[in-house]
Every structure is written in C-alpha cells, then in structure tokens.
C-alpha cells in the first residue's frame, strides 16, 4: 500500500474519488442558492454580495479547480477503460492536474 502511494496514479485515483464526494455534497447547496431567485432578485443579490468576500472567491476557485480535476480525471478513466492502452495515456494524470490548476487560477484571476 505504501509503495502505491509513491505512484501518481494512486493520487489521481484518490483525488478523483474525494473531489467527486465534495462536488456531490456541494450540489444541494448550489441548487438551493440558485433557487433563491424564486424569492426575488433582492434575496439572490443578498447572497451574491456575500460571495464578493475574498476568502469566498478563493473557495469558489477551489471548487472550480475540483470540478475541472474531476472532469479531466474522468476523461482519463474513460480513455483507459474504453480504448486500447497506449503509453501516452500515462501522461493524462499530469494533463488533468495541470489543466485543473490552470482553470482554478484563471477563474481566480477573473474573479478579482
């Protein structure tokens, strides 16, 4: 087990699983916030105003990063499961990590 932890594929699997758990548990909160629109624009604006706080923007960028890493990690899993194995697939872990970091950073830069 400890030997596996030296491999990037172990961490790819770990991040894929736990990013999915966080995103699934975030969904009810996300939908509830959006449903505030039913109570009027003022109510939704009240919440959106709170999201202007810098620490909330960092948290949002983290969620964007988690969504991107789960997406890119998911594509990696589908490629491995549905296509014949090729050496280039071993680099998809780095693509997923780098792509997700770039997405989170881009969101953060535009949010400020």
């Amino acid at each position: 087990m400890n030997k596996n932890r030296d491999k990037k594929e172990y961490w790819a699997s770990f991040i894929q699983r736990w990013s999915g758990v966080v995103l699934a548990l975030f969904l009810p909160v996300h939908f509830w916030v959006l449903s505030l629109a039913l109570q009027g624009g003022d109510v939704l604006d009240g919440f959106l105003h709170w999201t202007d706080i810098p620490i909330v923007k960092f948290a949002e960028a983290g969620l964007v990063g988690l969504l991107a890493v789960h997406l890119l990690g998911g594509v990696r899993i589908l490629v491995i499961e549905f296509f014949r194995w090729a050496e280039w697939q071993s680099h998809l872990v780095v693509v997923a990590g780098g792509g997700a970091f770039a997405c989170g950073l881009l969101f953060l830069l535009r949010a400020f």
């Binding site: 009810p28 003022d42 964007v64 997406l71 899993i77 589908l78």
Partner: protein, 112 residues
C-alpha cells in the same frame, strides 16, 4: 450482491459521466467568462429568463449530475464505509430524488 444491478449502475455512471463531460466544459467556460466584474441576480436572470434552451440544458445537466453523484457516493460508501445493502440504496435514492427536486426548483426560479 446483485451483479446485474451493479453492471447497470456502472454503465449509468460512465454514460452520465460522458454527458457531464460536455455539460461541465460549457458550464466551466460560462463561469470563467461571467465571473469578471462579479455576479448579480439581474445579470443572471437576463441570460436565463424565459430561455427554453437554458432550461433544457440545465434540466439534463441536473438529472445527469444527480445520477452520477448518487452512484459515485454509493461506490464510496461501499468501499470506504463498508456500507452495503438496501439501506444504502434507499438513502442514495432519496439523495438522487432530493437533487432532482432542488435542481428543478432552481431552474424554475431562474428561467420562469
């Protein structure tokens, strides 16, 4: 363990994952574009109000995410918590239904 059910859930997880791949790319690009300058209820409603394509897109997005998230949580609960059987299936079916209801309420609030 019902093998036929497990295979169906595995397939549903992969198929919803493929659909979500497309939905999430569109959602991520939209978020990164619109976050600049902050969000307001009026700005969001201007894009979504009475837009049947938005309702259709997010309707499919909600159902796919609810299904994908619930099946994913079920797998994690089985492997990490060793929780198996009808009680787990019932809890995650309720979670799936809750996500669908909350998601549809959010869409109604934003589109209608």
């Amino acid at each position: 363990m019902n093998n036929r059910l497990e295979i169906k859930l595995w397939l549903a997880h992969r198929l919803t994952g493929m659909a979500l791949g497309l939905f999430v790319v569109i959602h991520l690009i939209t978020m990164i574009i619109v976050i600049q300058g902050g969000l307001s209820a009026a700005e969001i409603m201007e894009r979504t109000s009475s837009n049947i394509l938005v309702a259709l897109f997010y309707g499919l997005f909600v159902v796919a995410a609810a299904m994908h998230g619930s099946i994913g949580l079920r797998t994690v609960a089985q492997e990490v918590l060793n929780w198996k059987g009808p009680s787990l299936d019932l809890v995650l079916f309720i979670f799936f239904a809750l996500l669908c209801v909350l998601g549809v309420i959010a869409i109604i609030g934003l589109v209608l």
